[in-house]
Amino acid sequence: MKRYQAQIALLAALLISFMVSQFSGRMNDYYLDIVLTAGISVILAVSLNLVNGHTGQFSLGHAGFMAVGAYGAAVVSLQLGPQLATILGSSGTGEGVAFLIALVTGGLAAALCGWIVGVPSLRLRGDYLAIVTLGFNEIIRVVLQNTTPDGVFGGALGLGGIPASTSIFWAFGAAAICIYVVTTMIGSTWGRGFLAVRDDEIAAGSMGINTTRYKVTAFVVGAFFAGVGGGLYAHQKGAINPEGFNFLKSVDVVVMVILGGMGSTVGVILAAIVLTVLNEYLRDFEQYRMIIFSLLLIVMMIVRPQGLLPATLFQKKGRTA
């Protein structure tokens, strides 16, 4: 039984999110929106944690991958939606499959971008990598902005009228899959390589670990889930726009990872949820909101520089994770 624990947990999570999703119609739209945003934030934070936390590479381009996924998925829904509906039928299942195709397309497009950017740039380290990924983020945004307004990508105004397909099932199902993939990957024997690269790249290399390959893998997997997260975001908000995926969006995700504790999946999930909900609770403070938010971050970093739930908290004696 113990062998299949992770798989059982994944199935259970999918089943729960499917069941909860059936009741989401009774939920207030606003709260549903917060819950979905939290789910998407979890996907983004956990996938970035694979790159920034587990593998120790500092990427600032997560919003760029998110943009690729969001546009990829939205274009599939908008351009191929009618064709897919005729092939798959307009039943609930048919729509579900069409949405799955859109999300996976977005994810794959982002993963491809991750690979293209990753292969040359992951030979760089530290600050240099941060700058390259930041540059990639900006390139994606500027390219999308400069497309023709009446074209497929909608130029600076972006795309509107995207079907609101994102439900609790999709957001949390994808989050569960993302958490499952990242934790099992890191937990596997092969996955120790990621941690080795983070802890000492030179030592890992001299032990025969192909460090570039591990880094590119982390990057591509991270980009894939960022793309899926972007696709869910597009189908949640109904309208996307290049400016929404600027550098600040990347920083939001980095903050979740650092606040939660680099390399700690539980911590990062917690931080993603806390930050999303906090953002809503602080609305009542109006213009003081950002001050309070920033102060909380500063205090948090002074009191707990290792994050909310640091990875070391879960280490057992004699085992490093």
Binding site: A9, Y31, G155, G158, K237, G238, N241, V266, E286
Partner: protein, 379 residues
């Protein structure tokens, strides 16, 4: 091991938290609650604040006059931080938690486009004070606006340029703003069709600081005038740098120029330049002068366009509620759709079948550091 177990527990935990959130109740109100979405902080805060001033002014006036349908009006304003994605969230909050009967907002078209489908789905009328992109009201029959649209403004400036005898022009487009791209497109269409030529087409992006490369190309072409449909921050810099390079051709643009900081930044560089706008504080009509005086007594400055547009949107909404005799979304929508010659501060508003306002534009110029009225262009 614990790490793994916890990571699996996190999901059900988060879900139960989510369900807990839904339990929070809402209070009943005997007031008429209207919502407003504005960018009170962030990049376009200047406009959001102006819009908010106008809306507040209208609400205070109506409450001082006894409210509508025997009830007081309560305004709930939500800040979208000028961020994409936030507009959708706060609209959902206003519509489904605060149960507003109508919404005013936003100025930026991209944010109105996020709000519109939510209002349409919930059958809540939404009036945008300043989104000039045609796509906004195309979302559905609950979405209205009180400003003119990009095609009209672009065409107005093209007509004006031709009437000034400018035949050879250059254009500088802000490719980051759909507004700017739209204005350029319609300006170009009308201008070139009626005998003008666009000698140079250059582009820039919001946030740019150096425009010398584009301006050098324009200088080399030797044009009669330059059309710069950008926002005030960049326009100010473009004008200053053009004069430094010895370009003396006049410049013209759209309502994005309207901000006091344009003259502060550019000073003499924008002397003799023209831009189209929704209204002029110089207009001698009683209604406008009354509005300007009242605003000056409150804020000690001239109201900007978006104050007037925010005020007009709200007044138009109140008028529709009065005429409909109810605050029911569908009833208010039906009255709004029939709006004809509503006397607003920014001109008489008539809504066409596409729920866009048909109204005149004014052309303004900058003379001795002051914005001066030139003429009114009828639709």
């Amino acid at each position: 091991m614990l790490d793994r177990l916890l990571s699996r527990a996190a999901l059900p935990l988060s879900l139960s938290f989510a369900l807990f959130l839904t339990g929070c109740g809402k209070e009943a109100s005997t007031d008429i609650v209207i919502g407003e979405v504005a960018s009170l902080t962030g990049g376009t805060a200047a406009w959001g604040k102006a819009q908010n001033e106008g809306v507040k002014m209208a609400v205070e006036e109506i409450n001082a006059a006894g409210g509508i349908l025997g009830k007081k009006v309560k305004l709930i304003t939500e800040d979208d931080q000028s961020k994409n994605g936030e507009a959708a969230t706060v609209t959902k909050k206003l519509v489904s938690r605060e149960n507003v009967v109508a919404l005013i907002g936003e100025i930026a078209s991209s944010k109105s486009l996020e709000m519109a489908p939510i209002c349409q789905k919930a059958s809540v009328p939404m009036i945008s004070p300043g989104s000039t992109n045609p796509k906004v009201t195309e979302v559905g029959d609950f979405i209205f606006r009180v400003c003119f649209i990009d095609p009209f403004q672009g065409t107005v400036m093209a007509k004006f340029a031709l009437s000034k005898g400018w035949k050879k022009m250059a254009v500088m487009t802000d490719v980051k703003q759909d507004y700017s791209v739209g204005l350029t497109q319609f300006f170009k269409e009308h201008f070139t069709k009626n005998g003008g030529t666009l000698a140079v087409e250059q582009s820039f992006s919001t946030g740019d600081k150096d425009f010398k490369a584009q301006l050098t190309a324009i200088k080399a072409a030797g044009v009669d005038a330059i059309f710069v449909p950008g926002y005030y921050a960049e326009v100010g810099l473009i004008a200053s740098q053009a004069r430094e390079l010895g370009i003396n051709a006049p410049m013209c643009g759209g309502d994005g120029w309207d901000d006091a900081s344009l003259i502060q930044v550019a000073g003499k560089a924008v002397e003799g330049c023209y831009f189209s706008n929704h209204f002029s504080t110089e207009d001698k009509s009683e209604a406008i002068q009354g509005f300007v005086k009242k605003y000056q007594s409150l804020k000690n400055e001239n109201p900007s366009t978006f104050v007037a547009l925010g005020y007009d949107s709200t007044m138009l909404l109140f008028d529709a509620m009065k005429k409909a005799g109810s605050t029911d979304g569908k009833a208010v929508r039906d009255v709004l759709a029939r709006t004809k010659d509503f006397p607003g501060i920014t001109g008489n508003i008539t809504l066409d079948e596409k729920r866009n306002a048909t109204k005149s534009a004014v052309i303004l110029t900058i003379k001795d550091g002051q914005i001066v009225y030139v003429e009114t262009v009828k639709p």
